[in-house]
């Protein structure tokens, strides 16, 4: 983990409202594991804006790429960063997906939204090929589909409005596939609701898997305790884990999805 100041090498629209930002990262790049993220200081927003976490999409040739959507103050400002400009980031952060991939399991990736970014990197770092499920509300929300095609992965697309692929949720497509009963391990990244639904299925089918969870972050390094997620412990209890450093990747069945829900 380091603070590194990167030079913007690329910064462009990739469609679906997303942009790709590539920063030189000679120190951080070689340390990256798929599923890790950087905590980026958005330039031009003054001292007091918190950093913003982004999953690492590519880490190669001494540079790091992330994909992001303009959703708020930070990402809207980020979009102005010119090629040749500077941005500093802390990274690589988080535990990353456990490697190597276990033998005799078909790797199954499930992505929603920008969740494809870390999964695309994971796929690139695997020797095996498997199947990837990408879901969105409409065709507009899908990105990086080409990545998986190029790598020779099977691809199943779902949209809630049917504008691309199957009409329905990503879990519908996943259910159909899981019902075949193949020995698989699942890697998923996307909104909480999707991850919870997948976790339930993994439990049902007694399949191993890993879920990448995004929580609002303060420090990104484990110091502030802003990003906690409740998990089950071996003794049947529950405890907090910090998404930024104990996560963002959690084992299937580890997360306590009910904790705190009732009190709201």
């Amino acid at each position: 983990m380091q603070v590194e100041t990167g030079i913007v090498q690329e910064h462009f629209d990739i469609g679906s409202g997303y942009r790709r930002l590539t920063l030189s990262a000679p120190t951080v790049c070689p340390q990256v594991k798929p599923g890790q993220f950087i905590h980026l200081r958005v330039p031009g927003l003054g001292e007091s804006l918190l950093r913003r976490p982004f999953s690492i999409y590519r880490a190669e040739a001494g540079a790091i790429s992330v994909l992001y959507k303009q959703v708020g103050k930070g990402t809207r400002e980020l979009a102005f960063l010119p090629v040749g400009g500077y941005a500093d980031f802390i990274g690589p952060l988080g535990n990353g997906f456990p490697l190597p991939h276990p033998e005799n399991c078909i790797p199954v990736l499930v992505a929603g939204g920008y969740g494809v970014a870390p999964l695309s990197l994971l796929a690139r770092n695997m020797d095996l090929k498997g199947i990837v499920f990408v879901g969105g509300r409409t065709a507009e929300d899908l990105l990086c589909l080409e990545d998986f095609k190029e790598m020779g992965w099977a691809l199943e697309v779902t949209t809630e409005d049917g504008s691309a692929g199957l009409k329905g949720r990503v879990t519908d497509a996943l259910d159909a596939w899981l019902s075949k009963g193949q020995k698989a391990i699942v890697y998923a990244c996307g909104p909480d609701g999707m991850l919870e639904a997948i976790d339930k299925r993994l439990l049902q089918h007694e399949l191993p898997g890993w879920l990448s969870l995004d929580k609002h972050m303060g420090c990104g390094v484990g110091a502030c305790l802003a990003c906690v997620q409740r998990v089950h412990t071996e003794d049947g209890g529950t405890r907090w884990k910090r998404c930024c450093c104990d996560g963002p990747i959690f084992a299937a069945g580890e997360i306590d999805w009910e904790f705190g829900k009732d009190a709201s």
Partner: protein, 311 residues
Amino acid sequence: MNTSPDMSIEIAGIPMRNPVMVASGTFGYGVEYADMVDIGSLGAVVVKGICMEPCDGNLPPRMAEVPSGLVNAIGLQGPGVKGFVENYMPFLRQHKTPVIVNIWGRTIEEYANVAAAFDVVEGIAGLELNISCPNVKEGGVSFGTDLRMAAKVISAVRRSTKLPLIPKLSPNVAGIGAFARMAEDEGADAISLINTLPALVIDVETRRPVLRNGVGGLSGAGIHHFAVKQVWDASRVVSIPVIGMGGIYEPDDALRFLLAGASAVAVGTANFTEPRTAMRVIAGMEDYVQRHEYGSIRDVVGMLQYGQVKP
């Protein structure tokens, strides 16, 4: 000319290589930032608040970003005395940097117990006493905003420990001076201020508080000049050293606290944005001491020229 200036200072009997500490709750237990920050370069490390037993804190969301600051309701999650000593003290003992443990409780007894527990732990330089906690025995009123209750806590803790004792004052009181004086009277070796200001962040679309806990504490650049005023008010009425904090991002921010009468400072929220803030602040303060040809950083303390105008 180029020899580094004398930055050393003694607070509550704790010798520090410089007056820049990191504030409780913003630097974890030190180890989290060890890759990026030279712990050995800090004046002291103040760890996240610890009470007797492990504590779960509040449900998330626990943090909201606001203009020039943030509002947090972490809720004092922590490993308890035993967990802290076992898991974090071995790391902290490796450095020569003084370790100040921030302690808290829900009752006066709990406060006294946790203080006593640390009295026998090796490698702890002092205790910072967070009095901004709800008194569960008196309807949840904060100890820190009631002069009588705050005095009871400080006095009980004072009797339970021989360690240097640094009560940390709540800012949302009408006259911080009275609290500062009371702390000195009850035997404090130093005081630190300010803790966060109470704040409520509302999401107008959901009509709910953004933080699951409802209210939280405001920190960061937006409270800086308010904090300086509080430190100035407090430092003029006590003879024990004052540790100033609130919105330190730049060397000038730290220097303002010193000019206003603080003998040391702590960097808080800024650590999240820029982990190396304390190191940068130390360098800037060294430069200031040299440029202004002070004999040492200690000569800066309380040097504010307030003029004829009455406070």
